[in-house]
Amino acid sequence: MTSLRIFFIGGLTAYRGLINWLSPWIFVPTLVVSPIFQILLFVYIGRSAGVQSDEFFVIGNAVQYASIPCLFSMTHVIEGERYQQTLAYILVSPAGRLPLFLGRALPVIVNAWVVSVFSLLVTGLLVGIDVPLSAWPAIALVILVASFSCTGLGLICAAIGLRVRQTAVLDNVIFGLLLVFTGANVPIDEFPGWMQAISDRIPLTHGIEAARDVAEGASLADVSGLIATEFTIGIVYTVVGYLALRVMEYASRQRASIQIA
C-alpha cells in the first residue's frame, strides 16, 4: 500500500513540484508551439525536396516530439532534486526505490502522450492529412506505448544526471539523435546498414512505423508485432535505467557526491 502511495501520489507530487515546464509560460512555447513548427518545417522540406508525403512527416515528427517531455522531464524529475537540495533526503529515505523512481515516470508518459497527440491533431488539420477517424484510437495507443518506451530512455538520462551536470546538453543531443535515427523524416531503408542497426534498437522507431501503418489503414492486429517490439524496447530501457539509477546512487554514496555531482 505504501509503495502504491509512493508510486502514484509521490510521483505526481514530485512531478508537479519539480517540472517548472508545466508553467504555461514554458509549456506553450516549448510543448505546444515548437512541435507544430518542427512538423511544419519538415513537411515543407519534404515538399521542397520532393520526397515522401505530408502524412509521413506529420506522424513521424509528432511521435518523435514525445521525446522532449520524456527525456527532459524524466531527467529533471530526479536530477531536479539536487537543485532543490532535497536529493539527499530522498535517497536516505526508506522508500522503495522502484515506486520512488518509476512513479515519477507515469506523469511524464501522460504528458508526452498529450503533447504528441495534440501536435499530431493540430498539424494534421493544418496540413490536411487524410487519416480515417477509425484509425485515431489505435494511433493514440501506439503513441502511448512509444511514450512509455522513450521514458525508459529518459530514466537512463536521469541516472546519468546523478553524475553529470550538463543534462540539458545531454538531453538535447539524444533528442537530435532520435530525430535522425528513428526514421521520423527519412525512411529507415535510406540509411546505411550501421544506422539501420541502431534504429532497430532505440525507442520510437517501431512506434513511428506502427502509427504510419495504422494511418494507412492497417489494423491494430497488423501492427501488433511493431507495438510489441516498441513495448519490449521500453521495458529493456526502463530496467537498464532503473539499474543505472541504483548504481549511480550507490556511487554517489561511496564518493559522498550526492549533492555535488
Binding site: P29, A49, G50, L179
Partner: protein, 256 residues
Amino acid sequence: MNALRLIGVGWLFQFKQLSRSAFDSFLAVLWPLFFATIAFFMFRQGGDPDSLIYAGLGAAVMGIWTATSVAAGSALQRERWYGTLEILVAAPAHFSLILIPIGLATASIGVYCMVTTLLWGRVLFGIDFPVEEPLALAVAIPATLLSIGALGFLIAVAFARYRYSWALGSMMEYPIWLICGFLVPLTLLPDWVPPISWSLAPTWGMNAIREASTGGTPLPDIAMCFALGAAYVTIGVLLTNSVLRAARANASLSLT
C-alpha cells in the same frame, strides 16, 4: 570612440564566455548538424545535386540563428542569475551598449556552426560547395552575422520582462528556419508568409550567401542586411529606454 571600444570589449568578453559554455557553444554547433544530416538525406533522396547544395548552404546558416535565438533570448535572464543585471543597468554607459555585444557574440558563435556544417556536408555527403564570388562571400558572411546579431539584440530587449525568455528564444528557432528560406524556397510557403520573411534579416543574409556562393547578385541582399540591422538596432535602443523606464518605475527589473 568609447562606445565602439565598449562594444568591442563586450563582444570579446561575451564571446569567450559563450565559447566556454557547453550549452551555448558545443550544443549550438552540434544541434544544426542533426537537422543538416536529415536535410542532406532528404535532398539526396530527391536526386537533384543542385538542391543538395541549396540545402547545404541553408543548413550552414541555420546554425547562426540557432546560436543566436536561445542565447540572445535569455541574455537578460542570464544576467539576472549572475546577479549582474542591476549593476549593468546602473552603469554610466547606455544599456544598449551592453546588450549589442551580447547579440553579436551569440551570432559569432554561429561561425563555428557554419564551418562545421559545411565540413559535415563536404566530408560525409560529398557536397562540393561552390564559391563563385569569394569577395562578395567575404562581405556577405559578416553582413549576415551582424544583422542576425542586431536581431539578437532586439530579441534580448524585447524579452526583458519575460521570466522564461529562453523558452521564447527556443520557440523562435523553427519558425525562422522555416520562413527565412534556409531549406525551403519562399515560393513554396503560403502567400502571406513572404512579406514577413522580407522583414527578417536572416532571409536576406541567406540570399546573400547563396548568391555569392553560386554566382548571382548578392549586393542588394547585403545592403538589405545592413539596412535591417540598422533598423533593429534603432528600434532596440528605443525599446531599451522604454523597458528600463518601466522597470525602474515598477521596481521590477529583477522580476522577483
